[in-house]
Symmetry: D2
Subunit: 260 residues, 4 copies
Amino acid sequence: DAPFTLIAGPCQLESLDHARMMAEKVLEAAAPTGTNVIFKSSFDKANRSSVDAARGMGIDHGLEVLATIGQEFGCPVITDVHDIEQVNRAAQAVDVLQIPAFLSRQTDLLLAAGETGKAINVKKGQFLAPWDMQHVAAKIASTGNENIMLCERGASFGYNMLVSDMRSLPIMAQTGYPVVFDATHSVQLPGGQGTSSGGQREFVAPLARAAVAVGTGAVFIETHQDPDNAPCDGPNMVAVDKLGGVLAELSAIDKLVKGL
Amino acid sequence: DAPFTLIAGPCQLESLDHARMMAEKVLEAAAPTGTNVIFKSSFDKANRSSVDAARGMGIDHGLEVLATIGQEFGCPVITDVHDIEQVNRAAQAVDVLQIPAFLSRQTDLLLAAGETGKAINVKKGQFLAPWDMQHVAAKIASTGNENIMLCERGASFGYNMLVSDMRSLPIMAQTGYPVVFDATHSVQLPGGQGTSSGGQREFVAPLARAAVAVGTGAVFIETHQDPDNAPCDGPNMVAVDKLGGVLAELSAIDKLVKGL
Amino acid sequence: DAPFTLIAGPCQLESLDHARMMAEKVLEAAAPTGTNVIFKSSFDKANRSSVDAARGMGIDHGLEVLATIGQEFGCPVITDVHDIEQVNRAAQAVDVLQIPAFLSRQTDLLLAAGETGKAINVKKGQFLAPWDMQHVAAKIASTGNENIMLCERGASFGYNMLVSDMRSLPIMAQTGYPVVFDATHSVQLPGGQGTSSGGQREFVAPLARAAVAVGTGAVFIETHQDPDNAPCDGPNMVAVDKLGGVLAELSAIDKLVKGL
Amino acid sequence: DAPFTLIAGPCQLESLDHARMMAEKVLEAAAPTGTNVIFKSSFDKANRSSVDAARGMGIDHGLEVLATIGQEFGCPVITDVHDIEQVNRAAQAVDVLQIPAFLSRQTDLLLAAGETGKAINVKKGQFLAPWDMQHVAAKIASTGNENIMLCERGASFGYNMLVSDMRSLPIMAQTGYPVVFDATHSVQLPGGQGTSSGGQREFVAPLARAAVAVGTGAVFIETHQDPDNAPCDGPNMVAVDKLGGVLAELSAIDKLVKGL
């Protein structure tokens, strides 16, 4: 009976005005279906394929922008953190802290995030089995913080490709924590373009529909007004003017599945 | 607008009476949702993990039983064939010939099947990419027979496990041929019990829902009145008295997705 | 203390003269190191990626050529069989029957091969775990024929790629049967060129060295006088004039490892 | 013509006396073959499967112990670092900084390590292709530090298992940087024991032989006087009294391969 939830926004913060524009468009897209929105964007892309790729606006300005979005639009905001020092600063600006997949086993980061008392969204490492995530969650929960979300974003499948194992969603749900399906990074082709990752935008909507049909009530979709020219994850971001259509599908499947 | 289709039946033929009982139960389960049924069973399990495993009733008696089921219940029947000699005999008894996944690259078998003019359901090899299946289909189509279905049944994922890549369904659909999702063998754990394969019955329904949400209009589910004591594929067959419930879900998602 | 063994020859039979030329060159390459040679070629490529690919000279002429090579050169000959009818005919012409990887679970083929009393080389399916091969061997051994070789040729690793798991060699050796490393097909990129498979010829020698260092005393290498223009498996065949150099390395490692 | 190199030591620091004992035994094992030794141990296990697993003695005492070992035994010492703050401190105590596989894409950590001017050993992420490592190396090299080693430690292969792709070694060697084969972590079964990782100690020596036969001149092997009771990585560590035997094999293969 929980409302359907969407974590969405541009992969990388570009400016306050851009973030405002994106938040407005995402909220507009979500309104007709009553979809809950958590606005997502990153202040720092800390693990780009190449050292020359754009890193983003940095933590000082980035957290300011995210806090402003939260206040102006009255919606929760999520951002990803990469070391302990960032955790405490980000916890003052946003509502949900996200642990990147590559860092999903870093004990100190998980503990520091847990200790903020904020909600934590942990991405499942591409190198982890779904049942391994109970131990990841237990690290956070050891701080007394049970406000945890577990997020599927694809498992390594040969080189430069991920596969979305839909069994992962009910397996992780057995922990009792809400499960999120990241439809954007699941269709990433890591390193697939040499100095950057490729992606398969055309599979975002089908895989998201699959995840919701399996029973997942929260989906993560990065979006941009012009994905092909976005500073990162362009090949797998959905154009924001198509987001409403995707949500209409997901929300309808969500209602159906919850009613079954 | 095509009706939702279910390929279902017991993994292995046990007797005419058993086949009758199963066909009746499957058709009963399908009736409330107006689901199309193709009755499936095998006369020979030609590639069991162990030489000691039950092979089935053999081709002579098996084809007779299958033909009888088709006549008595007025529903199409499908069975799998393993060599050219079986192809022509089976084509006289059943409506659809199925090419097993391990044999999906055997050119002569594909050609012989195509030449019967019967509908052909080809399982995608666990070792094939979805885009490889266009070449498999082209072998059959080279006989002039375009009555082809392409069936996803899991891709090798490490040892003794398969993964269902839901991207496979739209990719294979680009061929223009109907796509089937085999929810039973996709949850097989090949060789996972030493001398036999294990399975994860609990994922049949969620994966089938996912496949239908992606847009697949046909699902393959093996079923039995007592899966735990069935002569093969017990760990991944669904109890026939639960089949109606699964179909209610799948049919509802199918209608929703087709209406989107 | 068994001599190092090489299974080698052109992927596909082209003509008697070509087979003679290749056998001569392979034996010449093997002589300096005292390497045992089993001459390998196929009369039929039964599972090409595309229906338009060259199938070969066929069983009648092919078996004649193979028998002639065996007689003229006094070396054992191996060829692959794809159905039961081929098994008995091939057993009269060659010394070793080979079961293709895709067919490594087809019980009737394994039994028929076993019943000929000939030596059998079974390729491990790309979809099998190394420990699954004991059950494959047991099918053959159930006929009373223990003259079995188990052959590693790569495991599925994502799409269109295989990986050589070197652990497979000692695991399969635990059966007590000799183990062969197929360095040619292990570097295949299945379906990697759309209508045909690609390959990585540059890794044949390094992977073969690895396998011998692990303790494998038999290697399978397809070879051709002009691989780039060979009718099949060109991208992963080694030029026959480089074969001697590869064997010098392998034989030296083999001697060293056996002496350790 | 470079001498064969071994990176070895106990997974985790236990005490100064233990480190001394281990260093002495490792150096003794290496002496007969003239193997170069870099002593390895960790002051902190920052990404254990479970929050309850032993973390180690911590950075203050740990770096002191490592510096003492370097001074007393006159051999280079390597340890792994997990965040920027650790990098600068560790650089004052050890000769080589190691970047853990999970962190192999963290740009800031790579840059900080590079800027110390120390030699850097980067483990290839289990989620990376061998050709992706050139971009990892380029991040370090962008600091002007070209003293880089690239280390294979297994690629994700299904769940809870890694596979050693021996092609990775020559592919990474194309960068011009020395390549190391980590035979200990390549046989890890990540998360394979629920709250800890399993391992396959019996494959350390065969895989290391394979890697050296491929042409890799440096091997990483964790070792302990009593692996079954070691505080971490017990299932995949080699008993130190067997290390000399393994090195005799590896060194002989190394000499042979370099002379080919």
